[in-house]
């Protein structure tokens, strides 16, 4: 498990004694509010903590999806280098948007999102997190509407950055070097790994989603089959009719089991895979940030150098612009050092994060695989038992 240096999360009930600091959040009770086009879902966010920075042992607030987005974007801005936990996708097909299943999937994903932040040793100290968990609804709304514009990166910007990074990665892979790019072979390998990983995971997730659908389809056809068998049995009468009727009923029972398992499969196997994909995409965003930081560092270093040369020239010429130039040079120098510090911090953080990420993901997927296996075993056993229980009845029918 990740090194929880300060706080334990909500996945376990706080069995730690009250002296140990904890911050536990749950996202619950989705409720549809508003009308027509403006309808949305609101969630109850319940925070339990004993941290002094918080307003009390328990706090309940109402939040909607765009509030979570606000939190995500603030953290992304402030904590460069850290892999911000991913959010579930923004929009869905209109028809699906208010289906019970979609709402449940989103709720689960949002719950995981907040808890990951609460568990992260850096992110959990964020003021924005505290605001999110505690501010009243009006304040939240005000903050949320401020965000449009300056801080929000439009999706197209990200796309461009991704494309840049991707093309740079492929360039490096193909052997073409471009300037203003880190020439760090370890890092290149990592980038390549991340990009490839996303493809593979996306494919696995796609098939997992289809598998859910197949379970539902099989359930439906078992139900239809069962009904048809029963109708045929009704025609027959006598022992054969009874046999048909029993079989039809069993078939319908199994249909229910399949629908249940389909849901389990979705929530406990497909969603974790989806989550993994999102997490990798989040890393890609950080990779883009790092590239930006590197570029900035380089540019500033260049510019500072030029300014320095210019300053020396002016000094030699004993120009009266020296003073001005001196100031400018100093300012640039500070900026350049700042940029270098920022870049180095990102590099350092990324290295830590990637290790944490790998370990976390191994665990998450291990759990998902286990649930998958258990679910499928449960289903298969259920099916086997159901059919098996029918055999003596069939024997009885045929002998009569």
């Amino acid at each position: 498990m990740i090194a929880t240096r300060s706080v334990s999360g909500s996945s376990q009930s706080p069995r730690s004694p009250s002296s140990q600091p904890y911050l536990s959040v749950s996202v619950t009770d989705p409720v549809k509010l508003g009308n027509g086009v403006q309808a949305y879902i609101s969630y109850r966010v319940i925070t339990k903590t004993n941290l002094p920075e918080y307003q009390g042992p328990e706090k309940i607030v109402i939040r909607r999806y765009s509030d979570f987005v606000w939190l995500h974007d603030r953290l992304f801005e402030k904590y460069k280098g850290i892999f911000i936990p991913p959010l579930p996708e923004k929009s869905a097909v209109e028809k699906f948007r208010f289906s019970a299943e979609f709402i449940e999937m989103r709720r689960q994903a949002l719950d995981i999102f907040v808890n990951r932040i609460a568990l992260h040793h850096e992110l959990q100290q964020s003021e924005d997190l505290r605001t999110f968990l505690q501010a009243d609804e009006e304040t939240m709304e005000r903050l949320r509407s401020q965000e449009t514009g300056i801080f929000k990166k439009k999706p197209t910007d990200f796309m461009q950055i991704f494309k840049d990074v991707q093309s740079k990665v492929s360039d490096v892979v193909l052997g073409k070097e471009k300037p203003v790019e880190e020439s760090n072979p370890e890092y290149e390998k990592l980038k390549h790994y991340i990009f490839e990983l996303e493809n593979h995971l996306a494919e696995a997730q796609k098939h997992a989603y289809r598998l859910v659908k197949r379970h539902r389809e099989l359930g439906q056809s078992l139900s239809d089959f069962g009904k048809a068998v029963k109708l045929l049995g009704a025609c027959e009468g006598n022992s054969l009719g009874k046999a048909f009727s029993e079989l039809g009923t069993k078939s319908e029972t199994l249909s229910v089991k399949l629908q249940k398992e389909a849901h389990q499969l979705l929530m406990n196997f497909e969603e974790p895979l989806k989550d993994y994909v999102r997490a990798v995409q989040s890393i890609k965003a950080t990779i883009a940030e790092r590239a930006n930081a590197f570029r900035r560092q380089c540019e500033l270093a260049e510019t500072t150098k030029l300014k320095e040369i210019n300053l020396n020239k002016l000094t030699l010429m004993r120009s009266d612009k020296v003073g001005e130039a001196e100031i400018e040079y100093q300012e640039l120098k500070v900026e350049s050092e700042e940029a270098t510090r920022m870049f180095e911090m990102i590099v350092r953080l990324m290295n830590e994060e990637i290790v944490r990420f790998q370990e976390q993901k191994t665990l998450d997927m291990g759990i998902a695989f286990h649930e998958f296996a258990k679910g499928q075993a449960r289903l298969a056993n259920g099916i086997a038992n159901a059919w098996r229980s029918l055999i003596p009845k069939l024997e009885a029918c045929s002998s009569s």
Binding site: Q12, K189, L190, Y193, E196, H200, L201, E203, A204, K206, H207, A208, R210, L211, R214, H215, E217, L218, S221, L222, D224, F225, A228, V229, L231, L232, A234, C235, E236, L240, A243, F244, L247, I354, V355, Q358, K361, T362, M365, G366, I367, F369, H370, F372, A373, K374, Q376, A377, A380, N381, I383, A384, W387, R388, L390, I391, L394, E395, C397, S398
Partner: protein, 528 residues
């Protein structure tokens, strides 16, 4: 469903999959069933037997018996009787009361040239099939005889037509379609195989019928080498009349039932006239057929209801099979995706944790691939069981024909009765008219005598027709009894086979998943 690219991928990685999951001995049969359906979906073949015969088209023994399935071998412990769902196939070929058997197999399609008949130089070509029979029935050579003939599809049509004429009232299995369109559209090989399989199924079903199997027509078809010595039905005229007004052809054709030879030609003339009279009456008069047998009518209605529900169940069975196939395929694709992930995570180790993940993913891949194979096997078996439903739909068509035979025979009787009545009425009229003339009326007297002769002949024909009708009724009755019994047995064994199959495979799948659950149990949350 899967694009060509993905199909290639699947193929390419199949070796990987095989090597990844070879901890159970790869049974030749199961791997065969693993590769064959890639390109030939067992669901597409018209009969399940072609799926089996495909592996050994030349082994004549294999062609007679379904090879023991890997799946069924596991389940003999569940079956108190031997392989419940297999016996219908075999018992249909052997009479349980004695040890008579009549095994037929079809193979070796060959192209042949149509001779001289055509105007086009070179002529048209057609295909013949080798039909091999093994039997110990006395009608044929005697115990343990085996012989072969070559026949073309047209011969089968002839056989079918002659049987329909000779065995009215029986539930005669329907022959395969001519399927002209399909022969143009399908690949030659595929078409030939489909036709071969359907012909084989047809002949076997004829051999399974307790009465038909002993027919002269079938014997001749199976045994007599060279040109098939059965005449095609040449009775064009009666072909024109459709529906219940069809008169028994054998009274007009060359082969006869037991009819007084003396009245033969007269009957011929008479019936031609009758046909015309019926034909002209057809415009205004409704058909006279009135079936009085209430019990029969009830039975018929119940059967119609059964047929409808059967048809519905068959539809649902098809979609069940499709759903099973789909889930198996998707499971396989999921497994493949995890194979690729495993490969990816082991390719270049940048982090320690990749090893653990790769191991986990490999286990998932293995389980998914195994499950996918199990689904495929399950489905192949399911198809075999539920195929019975399709067979019975075919049987119901035969039942329909048999009932039509009955209706048309009854119509004949009633038509002849009414003709007799008409003739009597005419005689009365003539007698009444001629009695008014003093000394009688020579021409009218002659006419009356002619009519009396007509009545005599018609009465004889009516007697004949009544006998025919009674025979057909009896055939219907005995066939219905046979159908009820066989239906009961067949469906019970189908249901049982289906259930045992489902249970068995579900258990095997549970084992696969339980193994994975154990392999990942280290990640279990508390209390799970």
């Amino acid at each position: 469903m899967m694009g060509n690219e993905e199909a290639d991928d699947l193929h390419e990685s199949r070796e990987e999959m095989e090597s990844l999951v070879l901890d159970e001995p790869s049974n030749g049969r199961s791997s065969a069933s693993g590769t064959v359906p890639d390109h030939h979906d067992p669901l597409l073949s018209s009969s399940s037997s072609s799926f089996i015969d495909r592996h050994n088209p030349n082994s004549s023994l294999n062609a007679f018996l379904d090879p023991p399935s890997y799946a069924e071998a596991i389940f003999t412990s569940f079956d108190s009787s031997s392989n419940g769902h297999e016996t219908p196939q075999l018992s249909s070929n052997s009479n349980p009361r004695s040890s008579d058997y009549l095994y037929i197999s079809i193979s070796d399609p060959q192209k042949e040239q149509e001779l001289s008949n055509s105007l086009v130089p070179g002529g048209t070509t057609f295909y013949t099939y080798l039909i091999t029979t093994r039997t110990n029935l006395l009608e044929f050579g005697g115990p343990g005889s085996e012989f072969s003939v070559r026949r073309r599809f047209k011969d089968v049509v002839t056989l079918s037509d002659r049987l329909s004429e000779s065995y009215r009232g029986f539930f005669i299995p329907l022959r395969p379609d001519k399927s002209v369109v399909e022969s143009q559209v399908m690949a030659k090989q595929e078409f030939l195989e489909q036709r071969r399989a359907s012909l084989e199924k047809y002949l076997r079903s004829l051999a399974a019928h307790p009465v038909i199997r002993r027919s002269e027509e079938l014997r001749v078809f199976l045994e007599v080498k060279g040109k098939l010595p059965l005449a095609k039905s040449i009775d064009v005229a009666s072909r024109v009349l459709d529906g219940a007004a069809r008169l028994p052809r054998q009274l007009l054709g060359e082969e006869g039932m037991d009819v007084n030879a003396k009245g033969g030609r007269d009957l011929l003339r008479l019936f031609k006239e009758l046909r015309q009279s019926v034909a002209t009456d057809w415009g205004g008069v409704k058909p006279l057929v009135v079936e009085e047998d209430k019990e029969f009518l009830e039975r018929k209605e119940r059967l119609a209801e059964f047929e409808q529900q059967l048809s519905n169940m068959s539809l649902q069975a098809e979609s069940l099979v499709k759903a099973q196939q789909d889930i198996g395929e998707t499971m396989g694709e999921l497994g493949l995706a995890f194979v690729k992930l495993t490969k990816f995570e082991t390719e270049e180790i940048l982090f320690e944790s990749q090893n653990a993940r790769a191991a986990d993913m490999k286990n998932v891949a293995t389980a998914a691939v195994k499950a996918s194979r199990l689904y495929r096997e399950l489905n192949a078996q399911t198809v075999k069981h539920l195929d019975k439903l399709h067979d019975y739909l075919g049987i119901f068509l035969a039942v329909g024909n048999a009932f039509s035979d009955r209706s048309s025979a009854l119509l004949t009787v009633q038509t002849l009765s009414s003709e007799v009545a008409t003739l009597h009425a005419r005689i009365e009229k003539l007698e009444a008219a001629s009695s008014k003339i003093f000394g009688g009326d020579r021409s009218r007297m002659r006419k009356i005598e002619e009519l009396k002769e007509s009545i005599r002949v018609t009465e004889e024909a009516k007697t004949c027709a009544e006998r025919e009708y009674e025979q057909i009724k009896e055939n219907n009755r005995s066939e219905l009894e046979r159908l009820d019994k066989e239906r009961h047995d067949d469906f019970m064994s189908m249901l049982r086979g289906f259930v045992v199959n489902q249970a068995g495979y579900a258990e095997k799948m549970a084992n696969v998943w339980e193994k994975l659950a154990e392999e990942t149990s280290g990640y279990a949350k508390d209390g799970s």
